[in-house]
Symmetry: C2
């Protein structure tokens, strides 16, 4: 499985709100510039009120949970998966399969701030994670141009059948809290659109269940 | 499924280290007393060096991830599960099935601090979560006195069979980062001890996979 977390709610604080008191206070407390800290609704709610598309932004916790669910999974540890995070700002973050992201949220935030500022971590030597400007279409083309999407309006199929399918596919999951993909072609051109269960699920629940179903199919659990 | 997270790494900062500079600084920054903040290895590492059993303590992120994995699951949302968190200090935390814990880690920490200080949240009215002094034996006896344990040295069985079994059981998972249960009787008296896959997994990965397997058995996904 190659997991693509699409249009993910991960970005540095944009210039429009660098001067907002909530942002200045947070940056100062952490000894950074406003443009060097992650946009985080839990800290910058007031500052985000005037932002375009605000309801889809400022949720790095979603990316954190999805990365943990994937990177620490038996699927990834067995070398049977890879993951790319495409962001709402058309940046693609990739981690080496052996990367163990920080489990502590605040440590993860610090790491993402360094990654999005520098384009890589660590700053010197062999990179463990990279960030580069790239749109979703280019990412999916590079991955072979065929993908399936997990989406609440997709088809519900037998979970074991779904697991076998996911194990060998590029699997796209939305990395944002609400609403739909802005890239409408993503669903239209997909080889299949599936859902897991009948209730809307958080992105990381979808990732976690997709990975578990693939692990069953591959005999890893 | 009734999930019991056992010996979980969740507690307020203990009196022995109230005067440590790292603790005082963190408490002051957050406008609380040292005894009112959660012990957190990511913030209090230096202060924890002299603590007894230090390697098993100060990991509220484990409880956070397990609560999110359980409370937001289709299993719980369908009313087919409940969860209790037993802590290393013999406190039992319970949440109503309709409780949606904060997804943001720092907000979760604030909620747990209030809960462990007051014994309940919110402070007035119908409680959504409660915390009471109770040991693991008493908790399991009240739950019927029969349980299975998910543990890396348990038996590996077919995942679908395991799912059917877990769906109808009291399921115990360790809520700590390293080492073994201090309550050795827990494994000896269990009706069964099982593992998921062949690699050691974080507690929340175990919870997440156990819930998913039960959901398959119950036709919820």
């Amino acid at each position: 499985m190659m997991l693509v977390l699409a249009e993910s709610s991960l970005e540095l604080v944009p210039p429009e709100i660098w001067r907002h008191p909530a942002v200045l206070r947070d940056a100062e407390r952490r000894g950074k510039k406003p443009g060097e800290i992650l946009l985080d609704r839990a800290r910058h709610h007031g500052a985000m009120l005037g932002l375009k598309d605000a309801e889809r932004r400022g949720r790095p916790d979603i990316v954190h949970m999805c990365m943990l669910a994937f990177q620490y999974s038996p699927l990834n540890l067995a070398g049977r998966g890879s993951m790319a995070v495409h962001t709402i700002r058309d940046v693609v973050v990739r981690a080496r399969p052996d990367v163990r992201p920080p489990k502590n949220y605040n440590n993860f935030v610090g790491l993402m701030e360094q990654l999005l500022s520098l384009g890589r971590v660590p700053a010197e030597g062999e990179p463990l994670m990279t960030a580069e400007a790239k749109d979703l279409r280019s990412l999916l083309e590079e991955a072979g141009g065929r993908w399936v999407v997990l989406h609440e309006r997709g088809r519900r199929v037998d979970p074991l059948e779904l697991g076998r399918l996911l194990a060998d596919s590029v699997v796209v999951v939305g990395g944002f809290p609400h609403g739909d993909f802005k890239n409408a072609w993503l669903l239209e051109e997909a080889e299949g659109v599936y859902r897991i269960g009948d209730r809307p699920l958080d992105a990381w629940q979808v990732v976690s269940k997709a990975v578990t179903l693939a692990e069953i199919a591959l005999g890893l659990i």
